[in-house]
């Protein structure tokens, strides 16, 4: 079991003298190791509240740091840096700069809910991971992850038509993430399918890609959902103070230009 708190010590803060003699005693190498002290001054006291305002973040305040989530976590098992318990700690104490060190892996949560199953405090860490990943994107700390792009494309199609056709979602996803549709493993997959499928089935699937499936009489639901989503987005922007941030940046830009 690795000790995760070790990750708090940044490698650049570990000092070792190659050649050092103190009062005639050779203390070269790891004998002379010391850790440079580190002072955190950039607390973001609003961070917990901001994440709690996003869907899924509601129960972050309940966490008592038992670590059951990290212990059960699927992604943690293949990448020890992935540590929900620790991130919840950083968020609640406002250590934004520390959290940002892991900003590129937080979105990798696979929503398996092993953490939710294990958590004794009903924090729903899975949802907190989603809220945190969203927060990073909304604040501009990270570009939209592949996962968010996929969610967007998928949800857009559901909202438009009421249904999903996987081939269509796949194509748009590869296009928007700049990946070639002809991945070698994907070709093997298609070949596997072709080998077994009767022609009629292929025509049916081909047709499905051209004529996307639809739920009829969906327009009422579509309009209702669109209105609701727009409202929620505005609500999240306010909670995170994004509009003010934009305004501030604009005034600063103008001031800069005037100088």
């Amino acid at each position: 079991m690795p000790i995760h708190e070790k990750s708090l010590i940044r490698p650049e803060n570990l000092k070792v003298q190659e050649n050092l003699e103190v009062e005639g005693i050779d203390v070269s190498g790891h004998w002379s190791t010391f850790i440079e002290s580190r002072v955190v001054t950039d607390y973001n006291e609003a961070m917990e509240e901001e994440i709690a305002a996003l869907p899924g973040g509601e129960f972050i305040h309940r966490c008592w740091q038992c670590g059951s989530c990290t212990n059960a976590c699927t992604v943690h098992a293949i990448n020890p840096e992935f540590n929900p318990r620790y991130w919840i700690y950083l968020i609640r104490t406002g250590m934004e700069s520390e959290l940002l060190r892991d900003k590129d892996i937080i979105w990798q949560c696979v929503s398996c809910n092993k953490c939710t199953y294990a958590c004794p405090r009903d924090v729903v860490p899975e949802a907190v991971m989603k809220a945190t990943a969203h927060w990073l994107e909304l604040k501009g700390h990270t570009p939209k992850s592949h996962s968010t792009i996929f969610d967007d494309i998928f949800s857009e199609q559901v909202i438009e038509t009421g249904k999903i056709e996987d081939g269509r979602v796949l194509k748009r996803f590869f296009k928007q993430t700049g990946q070639a549709l002809r991945q070698p493993w994907l070709e093997d997959l298609v070949k596997g399918l072709l080998r077994n499928l009767p022609i009629s089935m292929l025509t049916r699937m081909g047709l499905a890609t051209l004529v996307a499936p639809k739920t009829s009489g969906w327009s009422g639901a579509r309009d209702a959902i669109k209105e609701y989503v727009a409202e929620q987005e505005a609500h999240h922007r306010t909670a995170l103070g994004l509009d003010e941030l934009v305004k501030m940046a604009e005034t600063e830009l103008k001031a800069g230009a005037a100088k």
Binding site: S155, V158, N196, L197, A224
Partner: protein, 316 residues
């Protein structure tokens, strides 16, 4: 219909509203075909939900969880209010999970209720009220109507000599609170060591292996957006199944199933990990055991080729 005493367990499930969901119309069509064929063979009736919509899968909740609740509630509303059905059966773990989650939220969370009511009114259909329908999985459906005894009586081609690892994935058991009927004493499903699929396949003669990763995650949510992670997770599942002696992994979810198939190929390509374990839906296995032909249960619609395997085992 034979012997009443062995199969009157839950008459209510004999005729259910069937919610296939999007995956079963696309990549998971084999599951759709085999579920329908198995139902027909067993004398169980499926009435497809009229004009159903997507439940939101694993994606819409990340845009807004309450939107997902609404999408799932619309399906249940149609089943209850338009079709006057009491039970919705969803074979897909994702659909099953989302309907259960919506049921839980609509029972316990005032805000979710408000959002669903508002969206339903605006969309022009009746608002679903918690408790109007019961959502069940295809496993409950077979187990509570025909049951193990009933299956034993009907076996045409025994699965004897086939070593199976039963893989349930994430959404069938987690999080525990949305499945109040599980972990509720003898005979109920367990969320830590589920066994319904094991029970059914065992009744059809199969030899279930001791598989420690029954509820491990295949990375299905990020199958495409983080393929490397998914490939590693799947490779682990496949290798563990083989190490446990399994020749087949039985599945009960289209996302898990295609995830395993897809990343079995990818693990070979990118990690050099080659596995031969077959990936087959439990409905396909049961169907063949009941005497259906491989094509009737859509074996040709699977990506991985298990024709030779089933022939060799005397199922074709």
């Amino acid at each position: 219909m034979s012997d009443k005493k062995t199969e009157s367990k839950n008459e209510k499930y004999r005729e259910v509203a069937y919610y296939p969901g999007c995956a079963l119309e696309g990549s998971g069509h084999a599951y759709n075909r085999s579920t329908k064929a198995l139902g027909k063979k067993l004398g169980l009736k499926l009435k497809e939900v009229d004009n159903w919509n997507c439940c939101g899968a694993m994606e819409v909740k990340n845009i807004d969880p309450k939107l997902q609740t609404y999408l799932s509630s619309r399906v249940m509303s149609i089943a209850a209010n338009k079709m006057k059905m009491d039970v919705v059966m969803a074979p897909c773990n994702g659909c099953y999970h989302n309907l259960k989650k919506a049921e839980y939220d609509l029972k316990n969370d005032e805000k979710s209720k408000q959002v669903v009511d508002r969206l339903s009114k605006k969309a022009g259909h009746e608002t679903y009220q918690a408790g109007q329908v019961e959502t069940i999985h295809a496993l409950d459906w077979v187990k509570d109507t025909i049951g193990e005894e009933g299956l034993k009586e009907r076996v045409k081609n025994s699965l004897a000599g086939i070593k199976i690892a039963n893989y349930y994935g994430c959404m069938y058991t987690r999080p525990r609170h949305i499945f109040p009927e599980k972990d509720s004493g003898p005979g109920s499903e367990s969320t830590s060591r589920p066994h319904f699929m094991d029970d059914l396949l065992d009744a059809a003669g199969a030899e279930n292996v001791d598989f420690p990763l029954k509820t491990a995650c295949c990375g299905g949510a990020h199958t495409l957006s983080d393929s490397d992670t998914s490939t590693r997770l799947v490779a682990n599942i496949l290798q563990t199944a083989e190490a446990a002696g399994a020749e087949v992994i039985a599945t009960e979810c289209p996302t898990c199933h295609s995830g395993l198939e897809m990343h079995q190929i990818r693990a070979n390509r990118t990690l050099g990990i080659k596995t031969n374990v077959k990936i087959i839906y439990f409905t396909q296995l049961l169907g063949m055991a009941m005497g259906l032909k491989p094509k009737e249960v859509g074996l040709h619609e699977n990506v991985s080729d298990s024709f030779d395997f089933v022939k060799q085992k005397g199922l074709a």
